[in-house]
């Protein structure tokens, strides 16, 4: 096994690359979510939006951005509930989802390693 410092350097390099890509990742999630939010309920759009939030929720925590992971998980759960009941988000849920996305954008812009 390489020395711990070397492993830390490799991980830090990976995290820096991930952090740099975060604004673009959130932008893509926002696009898939808005495509879902702004049209009549559709299973495929709902699944795509849910999956995009799920991916970020899983990866950001592993890359050391735990708060962003929690925010993405919150968004995923809102969309998953919509998927389970096969109905659009209620206005209050939609508001919550959009606020979550705004928070995620702020976190992504501030992400540093």
């Amino acid at each position: 096994m390489p020395p711990p410092d070397e492993i830390e350097l490799q991980l830090a390099e990976l995290r820096r690359g991930y952090a740099k890509q975060l604004p673009e990742k959130i932008q893509r999630i926002e696009a898939t979510c808005e495509a879902f939010f702004s049209q009549a309920w559709d299973e495929e759009r709902c699944t795509t939006a849910c999956r995009s939030a799920h991916s970020l929720a899983g990866s950001s925590g592993t890359y050391g951005f735990g708060d962003l992971g929690k925010a993405a998980k919150g968004l995923e759960l809102l969309i998953k509930a919509s998927l389970e009941r096969r109905a659009a988000l209620a206005p209050a849920e939609l508001d919550q989802a959009r606020k979550g996305l705004a928070t995620m954008k702020e976190m992504a812009a501030a992400a540093r390693v």
Binding site: M1, P2, I7, Q10, L11, L14, Y18, R51, H54, S55, A57, G58, S59, S60, G61, T62, Y63, G66, G69, K73
Partner: protein
Amino acid sequence: MVEDEPDIQAIARIALETVGGFTVEICSSGREALERAPAYRPELILMDVMMPGMDGPSTLKEMRARPETRTIPVIFMTAKVQPQEVANFKMIGALGVIPKPFDPMTLAATVRSIWEKEHASAG
């Protein structure tokens, strides 16, 4: 390892190969794993649960139904770690469950611990 998310693939490779000393082959889908496992013959598979197309549990069930992959141990990686969820994964044949997100510095040790526990109970 079976994982569709490239970011997780990248960090897990460092966690398992560099930190843990494992030799790692990555498949991006359950279908790919089913195709490649018979020739590659992995000693162990670390598998994501929620993947597009064929998810982890479906892939495991299919592996268990095929003679050439029936005995390969599978550990799931997932955010679904409520006791009932973990029990369900074990009931369909998973060796263990590793929570997501994971710590890249301890992932390999966790995998090894689950694996060795199984060896100990089998031997």
